[in-house]
Symmetry: C2
Subunit: 248 residues, 2 copies
C-alpha cells in the first residue's frame, strides 16, 4: 500500500483509499486487525492525526470498526445488510431531495422495482409476511390517523411485500427505493376517500399474494401506481388553485 505525497488529494483521503482498496480486493479480510495507528503513521510516513482522519473516513462507511484498550485497534468490519440498508436510505433520500427528482420519476422507479418482487413474493411469502401486511391494512383503515403515520404504515406494508420475496439482496435494493419515497409521499394529504381506495388496493395485493396469484398482484400494483400519480396530481392542482385564489 503506497501513497503519493505530491498528489493534490489529502493524505488522509489517500490513505483511506489505499486501505479501502485492500479491503475490496480481499487483501484484508473480515475481522482482520489493522496495524495500530502509530504503526500506520510509521508505514505511511504521516502523523497519527492524519491516520486517524483516514480511519474515521473508513468507519463512516462501515468498512472498519474500532475498539479501545489493549489488544484493541481497527478491525475490518463485516458489513451487514442492516448497515447497508441505512446507508442506502440516507443516500437515496438525499439524492432525491437535492437533485429535485420529480415525484413521477421516483414513483415510477419504486413501483417498477416493487413489481419485480411481487411474483417472487407470491411464491415464497410466509404467514409472517401476510400477517404484517394484514396488520398494516387494518391500521391504515383506522380513523384519525395522521398523514405521516399513514405513510409510515404504507412503507411497512410494502416492505413486508418485498421481504416476502425471501431475497435479502432484493430487500436491500428496495429499501432505498421505498423508504426514500416517503418524504415525497408525505407531501400528499390523504383524504378519507383516497385512503379507502389505497386500502382497497392493498387488500387486493395481500389477497393475491396469499393466493400465490402473481398476475393479480401485478395488476393491483399497476393500479396503485396509476392511482398514486393521479392523487399527487390532484393535490398539486388543489394547492395551485388555493395559491391563485389567495393572490387575488
Amino acid at each position: 500500500m503506497k501513497i503519493d505525497p505530491n498528489s493534490s488529494a489529502d493524505l488522509s483521503a489517500q490513505i483511506a483509499q489505499a486501505i479501502k482498496n485492500a479491503i475490496v480486493e480481499g487483501r484484508l479480510i473480515v475481522d482482520e486487525r489493522l496495524p495500530s495507528e502509530a504503526e500506520l503513521a510509521d508505514q505511511f510516513q504521516v502523523s497519527r492525526p492524519t491516520v486517524r482522519e483516514a480511519l474515521k473516513r473508513l468507519a463512516a462507511q462501515s468498512l472498519i470498526r474500532t475498539q479501545r484498550g489493549a489488544f484493541g485497534g481497527a478491525f475490518v468490519n463485516k458489513i451487514s445488510f442492516k448497515d447497508a440498508y441505512s446507508q442506502q436510505i440516507t443516500t437515496s433520500t438525499l439524492l432525491l431531495s437535492m437533485n429535485a427528482v420529480s415525484f413521477d420519476t421516483a414513483c415510477e422507479a419504486r413501483y417498477a422495482l416493487e413489481r419485480a418482487c411481487a411474483p417472487l413474493s407470491a411464491q415464497r411469502r410466509t404467514p409472517d409476511h401476510l400477517a404484517t401486511m394484514r396488520a398494516e391494512i387494518v391500521r391504515q383503515g383506522q380513523p384519525g390517523l395522521s398523514d405521516e403515520t399513514f405513510c409510515a404504515s404504507d412503507v411497512a406494508f410494502h416492505r413486508a411485500l418485498v421481504d416476502g420475496a425471501g431475497n435479502p439482496v432484493l430487500s436491500y435494493q428496495l429499501a432505498g427505493a421505498v423508504e426514500a419515497m416517503q418524504p415525497l409521499m408525505n407531501m400528499i394529504t390523504f383524504t378519507a376517500r383516497s385512503r379507502e381506495v389505497i386500502v382497497g388496493l392493498h387488500t387486493r395485493i395481500a389477497d393475491a399474494i396469499e393466493a400465490r396469484d402473481a398476475a393479480s398482484a401485478d395488476a393491483a400494483l399497476v393500479e396503485l401506481t396509476t392511482y398514486t400519480m393521479t392523487l399527487k396530481d390532484s393535490v398539486m392542482a388543489a394547492r395551485a388553485a388555493a395559491r391563485n385564489s389567495a393572490h387575488r
Copy 2:
C-alpha cells in the same frame, strides 16, 4: 445541534451525526457553508482535531466538501448520481462477498430488477442506447476475449439496457445490482459455446428493445437468467469433478 459528552459514543461520531441530521432535515441546505473548524470546536466545546474527524466522516459520505484558503471551509455537498452510484457499488460488492451471498440469490435479484426496467426501456430507449448495446454484442463475439473483458462488456450491455428506461433513479438502483454481480460472474469460465448462447440472447434482447416489444425482451431475459444459472452449475460441477480426480 447538541451533543452529550457523557454518551458512550465518540465525540466525533456524535458531532458528525448532529451535522448529518441537520443536512437530512434540511436545516443546512446545499452549498451552505458550515462554520469554520475553529468555530465548530468552540460551539461543540471540543478540540479542532475532534471536529476534523467528524468532518472527515461526513466527507467520506459525500455529505460535505472542503476547500482550503480564505473564504474556504466545509460546504454542504449536492450529492450527485455519480457519487451515489460509486458508493452503492462498493457497498453492494462488499455486502455480497462478505456475507457469502449465493450466486443464485444475487443472480435472481439482478435479473428480477432488470426485467423491471425492460418494458420502460422498450418504450423509451434512444438510438444511443441501442448503439451501445449493439457495439457490446459485437465485442462479445470477438475471439480471444478474456473472461474478465467479456464480463465487463456484459455489464456495459446491461447498463445500456437499464439506462434506456430513462429513469435516473432506476439506473442508480440497478447500478449496485448489476456491478456487484461482476465479481461473481468473473468466477465463471465462458466457453466459446456459452458465449455464443449469451450473444444470441443479447441479440434477441436488443432486437426486442429496438422493436419496442416488451414481452419478447422479458422472455429473452428470463431465458438468460435460467441459462446463467445452469452455466454456473456446470462450471461448479466441473470444478468439483476436477478436484475429486486430483485427490485420487
